[in-house]
């Protein structure tokens, strides 16, 4: 039986063909459509500095969204990300009062993010609790600590060179944040699409039992993903605090919703198992362009948040409705 040498082809469809028929291609068309619509809707849109400003609408959120994408693909979720920003920012604010310099502040921000990620990771993988419940709990916990420390106060007085992370420009209109966003996007795309670790993430998200039975260290992979999500929240906390120049306990309030929306809009299956980083990158631009366009048209923030909520539900419901309609 083993003497048969009937060769099975590797692939029937080329990767290019597969990519062209993907959600990502569709989303790209949507992004281009919104860009064109915006440029007609407002005369201020097609301006290099305005467009550069618009990127701040999504860069910090997208940094977290990349790590969140991996976490959701693996079948877990972290709703505490915005609260981690609040806690990390509060820690940095407190450190400023104690006279810590810029390097120390960055380290503190990242360390608090990592520590929060480790708490979530331990509760989910060590104790086997469901991540949605754990991170709703830590969401209240982390922001709660921030409220207790700060009350109705504000931390200010960040050092002048600390402002570079959120306000600095690398070249002409290209901000430091935008460069960092692009760099992180490439890192996560490589991790997810080109490494053994990324393959394990997909395997776990599709069938965690099967992955375990195939010798994948499922707990270790998930713990690492929570650490990464915490770390990215720390990075976002440094950028956002630097951009605002102050810390209030309500900082980044409600961002977890926008970050999850960005991930799902990018084509990541909310139930885990599939999705891509290029999809999340395009989704980040789409959300940034929509928010910016609506801002230019003077649409109030509360209406925008209604829009974000509606967007999240439609993106999840559309494929289901589509398949029901096709019967």
């Amino acid at each position: 039986m083993t003497t048969t040498t009937r060769s099975i082809p590797d692939r029937l469809r080329s990767p290019l063909e597969r990519n062209l028929k993907s959600w990502e291609s569709l989303l790209m068309l949507v992004a281009i459509g919104i860009f064109i619509a915006n440029s007609f809707a407002s005369p201020y849109f097609l301006n290099a500095w305005n467009l550069s400003d618009a990127t701040f609408n999504f860069t910090e959120k997208a940094m977290i969204a990349f790590a969140m994408a991996l976490l959701i693909i693996s079948g877990e979720i972290d709703l505490s990300v915005a609260a981690i920003i609040a806690l990390a920012s509060t820690a940095m604010g407190a450190a400023v009062q104690a006279g810590v310099g810029t390097e120390g502040l960055v380290l503190i921000g990242l360390a608090v993010g990592l520590a929060c990620g480790a708490v979530n990771g331990f509760l989910v993988t060590g104790l086997g609790l469901p991540s949605i419940v754990v991170t709703i709990g830590t969401m209240s916990l982390f922001r709660g600590i921030s409220f207790i420390v700060l009350g109705d106060q504000v931390y200010k007085g960040y050092p002048a060179d600390f402002a570079f992370f959120g306000q600095g420009y690398v070249w002409w209109v290209i901000s430091f944040e935008f460069v960092l966003f692009a760099f992180i996007a490439v890192i996560y795309a490589v991790i997810l699409h080109m490494t053994n670790f990324g393959r394990a993430v997909y395997a776990i998200g599709n069938n965690a039992t099967g992955a375990l039975f195939s010798g994948i260290r499922v707990g270790r992979v998930k713990f690492t993903l929570f650490l990464l999500t915490g770390l990215m929240s720390g990075v976002a906390a440094v950028c956002l605090t630097s951009r605002l120049g102050s810390t209030r306990p309500s900082i980044a309030f409600g961002w977890e919703l926008e970050i999850v929306t960005m991930v799902v809009l990018g084509g990541v299956n909310i139930l885990g198992g599939s999705g891509s980083i290029p999809g999340v990158v395009i989704a980040a631009f789409v959300m940034g362009l929509v928010t910016f366009g609506l801002g230019l048209l003077n649409v109030p923030g509360i209406v925008m948040s209604i829009g974000i909520g509606a967007l999240l539900i439609s993106v999840i419901a559309l494929p289901r409705l589509w398949s029901m309609w096709r019967g």
Partner: protein, 513 residues
């Protein structure tokens, strides 16, 4: 079909059946689960249904309880032909089943469990809780169960849960009670109590179908027996006219005509030594050695603890004690990843959930445990992945459109080949196959057997867990028989016969042989 009693039993001994099944055939895609079978149950009598795993016992229970619809055949109660399109219609006709794993609801009370679906109704169609509690009390008292109807089910022990299940059967005024391995989870004292209950049901004229693998209890409480083998009825009669060896012969008495590959049975040195493997509930004191080039069969009834032990050996299940040595060196296995690293791999029985990742393509399934070999510093090398996947899937003669096809779209036999290819690609020392040919077609079955023989010939040590007697007899160099979580026999090649396997697995005493 007429009742075929053995000639030495006078017809006077056989009353008219209360329920009779005749000419029943049930096919599933690719499998004929029941072929023209009959079954007769008599009022006030216990009929034991015996047969190997897969003989069709569970299927016939599902036909009787309205879960499956037979393709052909009659079900008659008191001579009247009936059909059970739904489980409710079977209940209405007075047929009820107490299953192996009782289907009850832990968070509800005893009374609610007993009357679920047919609770006494009061005003406005609401449940009359008082009437329900009173009637539950009456039924429980009737079977001598000291259980509070208001207690929550989860607070009861296994034996009392069984009594609740039986009360539920009585609450619908069942005339036919099916007991599917009711003693599997009970202690000896609880079993005695169950026997008393069966006696009281008999006294009330219920017809009882008793399914069991344990011969001592069959001879203790049954009045009649019916034997199924491979979906056919092969014998029935009065229990007083049959001996244990005769019954065993009826159960296994097929000619082992399936063709198994020729093997030279050359075994090498010891490669795996397991000692003192203990689990709090599933198995105890498992120890054996395995040699290079050997196929070691593990036989036992369903629930004997074979799969549980194998999963512990593979690092899935936590242990309370035990040691493993590979090539004489002790290894510590705390996870499947550790097991794979030590050279032990496991092909699980549940291919869909444990064996494969259905939504991922074939090549990614195959390389999943071998990614370290198809990558450089953690970066995937696609060309090497495809090469490794192609090498091993072609050795197994996998049939697929491309290696990029999702595994979920393959047939059971081809999925099994993907799982085996996945493990061979890790170049293991010991491969554990758990029911390797369950649910796959005859052609793929032969291919898996042939491949297993070839692996052994190449020096791999093979553990084969199987409930199929022909497969155990046809493939094994040595067989370990497990019963109730323990090793009860180790049979050398010349001792492996269907009769010895069945009698050790079922715990038939030596003197009865």
């Amino acid at each position: 079909m007429q009742l075929e009693l053995r000639p030495d039993v006078s017809n006077a001994a056989a009353p008219t059946p209360l329920l009779s099944l005749s000419g029943v055939t049930k096919t599933f895609p690719g499998v004929r689960a029941l072929s023209d079978v009959s079954l007769n149950l008599y009022p006030g009598k216990v009929t034991a249904l015996v047969g190997e795993n897969g003989a069709g016992k569970s299927t016939v229970v599902k036909v009787l309880t309205g879960i499956y619809q037979p393709d052909e055949g009659d079900i008659r109660i008191d001579g009247e032909a009936l059909s059970f399109p739904t489980p409710q219609s079977a209940e209405t006709a007075g047929v009820t089943a107490i299953h192996q794993e009782t289907v009850l609801f832990d968070e509800l009370t005893v009374a609610e469990n007993i009357f679920l679906g047919h609770a006494p109704k009061g005003r406005f169609g609401l449940i009359d809780k008082t009437a329900m509690a009173t009637r539950a009390r009456e039924i429980l008292d009737g079977i001598g169960a000291k259980i509070d109807p208001g207690a929550t089910l989860k607070d009861l022990g296994t034996a009392n849960k069984h009594l609740v299940a039986i009360s539920r059967a009585l609450s619908i005024d069942a005339r036919v009670v099916i007991m599917d391995e009711p003693t599997a989870a009970l202690s000896q004292k609880e079993i005695e109590e169950l026997y008393e209950l069966v006696e009281s049901l008999k006294a009330r004229g219920k017809a009882i179908l008793f399914i069991s693998h344990k011969f001592d209890e069959i001879f203790r409480i049954a009045d009649f027996y019916t034997v199924y083998r491979d979906g056919q009825m092969v014998g029935e009669g009065a229990i007083v006219d049959v001996s244990e060896p005769e019954l065993v012969k009826l159960m296994v008495g097929r000619d082992v005509s399936q063709i198994f590959p020729e093997r030279d049975h050359n075994v090498g040195h010891d490669i795996l030594e397991v000692a003192g493997y203990d689990h709090p509930t599933e198995f105890a004191d498992i120890g054996f050695t395995l040699r290079r080039g050997e196929i070691l069969g593990f036989y036992g009834l369903v629930g004997a603890g074979r799969s549980e032990f194998m999963q512990a050996l593979f690092g899935i299940t936590r242990l309370s004690g035990g040691t493993v040595r590979i090539d004489g060196a002790p290894v510590s296995i705390a996870s499947p990843a550790d097991a794979v690293a030590s050279g032990i791999v496991y092909v699980p029985e549940d291919r869909g959930k444990q064996g494969t990742i259905g939504a991922l393509p074939i090549f990614q399934n195959v390389t999943l445990p071998s990614l370290a070999r198809t990558s450089r510093k953690g970066f995937i090398k696609l060309a090497e992945e495809f090469k490794l996947a192609r090498d091993y899937t072609e050795r197994l003669d996998l049939r697929a459109a491309s290696l990029d096809t999702d595994v979920g779209n393959l047939s059971g036999g081809n999925q099994q080949k993907v799982v085996i290819a996945k493990w061979l690609a890790t170049q293991p020392k010991v491969i554990i196959l758990d029911e390797p040919t369950k649910g796959i077609d005859i052609g793929s079955k032969a291919a898996v057997h042939e491949f297993m023989a070839e692996l052994a010939a190449q020096g791999l040590a093979v553990i084969m867990v199987s409930s199929e007697i022909p497969e155990i007899v046809g493939m094994s160099d040595r067989v370990i028989v497990m019963r109730e979580g323990r090793i009860v026999a180790e049979l050398a090649r010349d001792q492996i016969t269907p009769e010895t396997l069945v009698s050790h697995a079922a715990g038939i005493k030596e003197d009865a042989q």
